[in-house]
Amino acid sequence: MAPLVPSQEELQRRRIIGINPETVTNIPSTDFPGHWPGESHAWALDGFKKNFKVEYHRNDPYEASFSLIGLDAAVANAFRRILMAEIPTLAIEYVFVHNNTSVIQDEVLAQRLGLIPLKGSVEGINWMHWFRKPSEDEEGSSAEGPSDYNTIVLHLDVECTKNPNADEDEQDPRKLYNNAHVYAKDISFHPVGRQEQFFVDDGAIRPVNPDILIAKMRPGQKIEMEMHCVKGIGADHAKFSPVATATYRLLPDIQIERPIIGEDAKKFVKCFPKGVIGLEPVTSEEAARSGSGYEGHAGEQKAVVKDAFNDTVSRECLRHEEFQGKVKLGRVRDHFIFNIESTGQFESDVLFLEAVKVMKLKCARWKRGLHDFMA
């Protein structure tokens, strides 16, 4: 017996998560074999290929926004989690303090340095391997300590001095002294070995934003330190997370079920962010149709849904007596509007592709583990 195919209306009904004043309905996915008697829902790559869609809304180096349509929440959420916690990036991990007479303590300074986002040749960063800390009690371990392929060396050498050319009644410490403020731009990169081929000119390792304030000093104070950057993942420490934020939301769905006209329509518009609901005059055709609810209202303004995309689903409209039963709010279950903000090491669209790659790699690795014990 061929599997039953549900009607388009039925499928559309299943796609909408209902949003009520106090509750949310129709939450779990039901597209699994055995859930709906007679229907198939088995995994089919061709079917997925046909239904899955990507719509791009924005693509800047530091921020990208796009919709993934036709995906299950389990998979979309996996991509989001990988974006935040499992894409390898470069950050300062070891700080060797040769001299620090500033008022900021060594450990606090080291912590601040770790959080500075770095950028440089992406090719070079991808070429780098993980750093494995050699353990002291383990003889002949495979970890080998810092090398050109696993460690980037940065230096911070600043000394605060009096500025002899400053005005006598100058109050601003930045003019009164040299190096009163230490910024991220004072960090210098010292390439080693093959790093000289990868990290040249624009590809040099440097802070994404040169104006991050690291410390403040007064004449006679000095900071001299060497920093080792290694690759790591966000699960280990947030400084390794390649994204500032990686979020998704479901596409809002607004259905006006019964006419909202006149003054009510104007009030209805105000319940939503700008541009979501529009006003249109009731056509004479609509007014002539009996049972439409528009009878005798030709020419009056009626509320129509213009652009549900920008809605925040605040549920404000559900609080008013006059809209009771006239509007239905919801979200589309399989329409994920992603927003990815990069910290600057990678471009945000590359980050998403990287997340998909990591997911595939994880599958491949676990599958290999499976073969080991099957044998």
Binding site: S40, L45, K49, N59, A78, S147, K360, C363, R365, L370
Partner: protein
């Protein structure tokens, strides 16, 4: 420590690392990662323990395995939040085994990743071309 970078032979070290596991790009993640079959399993019903895994793979894998018509039940749990362990339970009909269902789950997820990459790249390139045109105009 600083000087040690120059003293070493990077090429040699590189190779010794590659010898351990050729395709692996991240040895940190690979360490100590294993799948264990929990006691009390049969051919068609088994619980697997994934070390060092969480909701990321757990839920996605559960979805992929539940899409298999031969699977009667699939669910995952993280028994304790401080243990980095994920348990996955699979019960199948007699037409397959739990192990096969798990492997099919991995395969389906990998296929899905390929489609997502392909469609995402196409959509992004088209968007970039269109916005490039708009800027020129």
């Amino acid at each position: 420590m600083p000087g040690s970078i120059h003293d070493q032979e990077p090429q040699e070290n590189d190779q010794s690392m590659m010898d351990a596991e050729p395709e692996v790009t991240d040895p940190i993640l690979l360490d100590e990662k294993r799948i264990i079959v929990l006691p009390g399993s049969s051919e068609t019903a088994a619980s697997f323990q994934f070390e060092g895994e969480g909701h990321t793979m757990g839920n996605a894998l559960r979805y992929a395995i539940m899409k298999n018509p031969a699977v009667e039940f699939c669910g995952y749990t993280i028994p304790h939040p401080s243990d980095a362990k994920m348990h996955l339970r699979i019960q199948t009909t007699d037409s397959t085994t739990a192990l096969e269902a798990l492997e099919k789950g991995f395969n389906d997820l990998m296929d899905l990743c390929d489609v997502v990459t392909e469609k995402f790249t196409a959509s992004r390139d088209q968007f970039n071309a269109e916005s490039g045109n708009r800027m020129e105009a």
